[in-house]
Structures are given as C-alpha cells and as structure tokens.
C-alpha cells in the first residue's frame, strides 16, 4: 500500500523514510505491537533507525489520532492502529491481544453510578483463545 505515505501527508507530518517505515509496519501488521517489536521489525528495512525516532513517530501518530495506546499485558504500552471504540481480549497463554468489536458486547447499568461522569470505557477480557 502506497497509502502509508498518504496517511502522513494528510495529517501534515513530513513523510521521512523512518516515519514511512514505522507507519508501514504498524498499519500493515494489524496487531498490537509494543515499541520494541516495532523497532526490531522496522530495522529490517530501515536499519539505522533509532529508538528515539520510533518513540517520536509513535507519539506523533498518537497525537494525530492515528493510533491509540493500551496497556493490556505486563507494563508495556502497545500501539493500536484500531482507533474506533472497541474492547479487548488477551490470551493468557500467548499474551496475544484480540480486538472485540464494540457492538459485540453491551454494558448496562443495574444501579446508577452516582458521581461518576464516564467519558470512555472498555471491557477487557482474559482467557484462552481456542485453537
């Protein structure tokens, strides 16, 4: 997809080789990679890229609304190219993260939440992904 280059231009970010490589990896892998995984993989095609540049790019993409961050396993941030509202399922065995479409679940209130103004929520499920 040449689309990756467009993504950067469209939000006013200069499309440098490093940024293109990061965008390419994260939007084509369609997973929930952490910064380190992104760095390792991007270096296959862009061997000189530095850790700081990866973080700079990822944080920029988050600021531009093209990525979301999540913390679902361990203490490391994962970058989520799915910016629509959705829930998550984390496999106990593999640590793999799966998107659960928003309309799969319905969260309703039995009792009213007095004094809590909810801006956003999600359901996080853990268990086993069946083979």
């Amino acid at each position: 997809m040449k689309n990756n280059l467009e993504i950067l231009k469209r939000c006013g970010v200069r499309p440098t080789p490093q940024r293109i490589a990061v965008v390419k990896y994260i939007f084509e892998s369609k997973g929930h990679p952490d910064a380190d995984t992104i760095l390792e993989n991007v270096r296959k095609t862009c061997p000189t890229i530095s850790r700081a540049t990866v973080y700079n790019t990822l944080n920029l993409l988050v600021a531009k609304g093209l990525l979301q961050t999540q913390i679902l396993k361990g203490r490391t941030v994962i970058f989520d190219p799915n910016t629509q509202k959705h829930h998550h399922f984390v496999d106990d065995a593999t640590g793999k993260v799966f998107d659960i479409p928003w309309d799969t679940l319905k969260v309703s209130q039995n009792k009213t939440l007095q004094g809590f103004q909810v801006r956003d929520y999600q359901v996080i499920m853990r268990g086993r992904r069946e083979s």
Copy 2:
C-alpha cells in the same frame, strides 16, 4: 486492627515487623497504592525497610491471594486489597482509582464470541469524578 497479624499467620507467612507494616498499610488505607507509595508510607513506621522487601512482601501477598494487581494508570502496577470481582473507574484529573461493585454493571453479549474462552473480565471506565 490486630487482624493484620492474623492475616499473615493464617496463610503461613512468618509475620515479621516489615511484613506486618506492609499489610497494615495496604489493608487499612483501602486505596489502590503503587509499590513506591507503599514504601514511602511504610517507612514512616518502619524506617529501615528496603524496596526489595516491599516488593517481596507484595508479591507474596499476591501469590497467597490476599492482593490483586492492576495496571490502570500509567505503566505502574497498583496493588488492590479488594480481591472480589469488581470493575474500576479512573479519574482523568486526579488519577484516583475507584472500585465499582460487580453488580453495578451488566455485560451481555449481543453476538457470541466464537473461539474465545473467557476466564475473567472487567470494565474499566475513565472520566471525571464529580466534586
């Protein structure tokens, strides 16, 4: 509460002064403190306690099922003395974590989750706690 000492004995853990101090803080403060907060506060009554001992004790209590861990704000683990099933609300402004009783919310499936065996789940809500 002398109860703290009982808690340790009951699960076969030798009740040392350090462990008693950690248990006392975490079960009496009733919040969702991180290890650093626990260390700081426990040092008020037990000034020589080391970071490693705090982590050792907390990990031990988690292994014994007396504490749960959560990662709800930033990337730091918080220790939760509420080991019953419950949901969480995180205040955007203060970072404060609130327990939402399990029966306050109901999560239902509109569509069946094919291939996902759910062992556990929780709803994480974010927003503003009204003054």
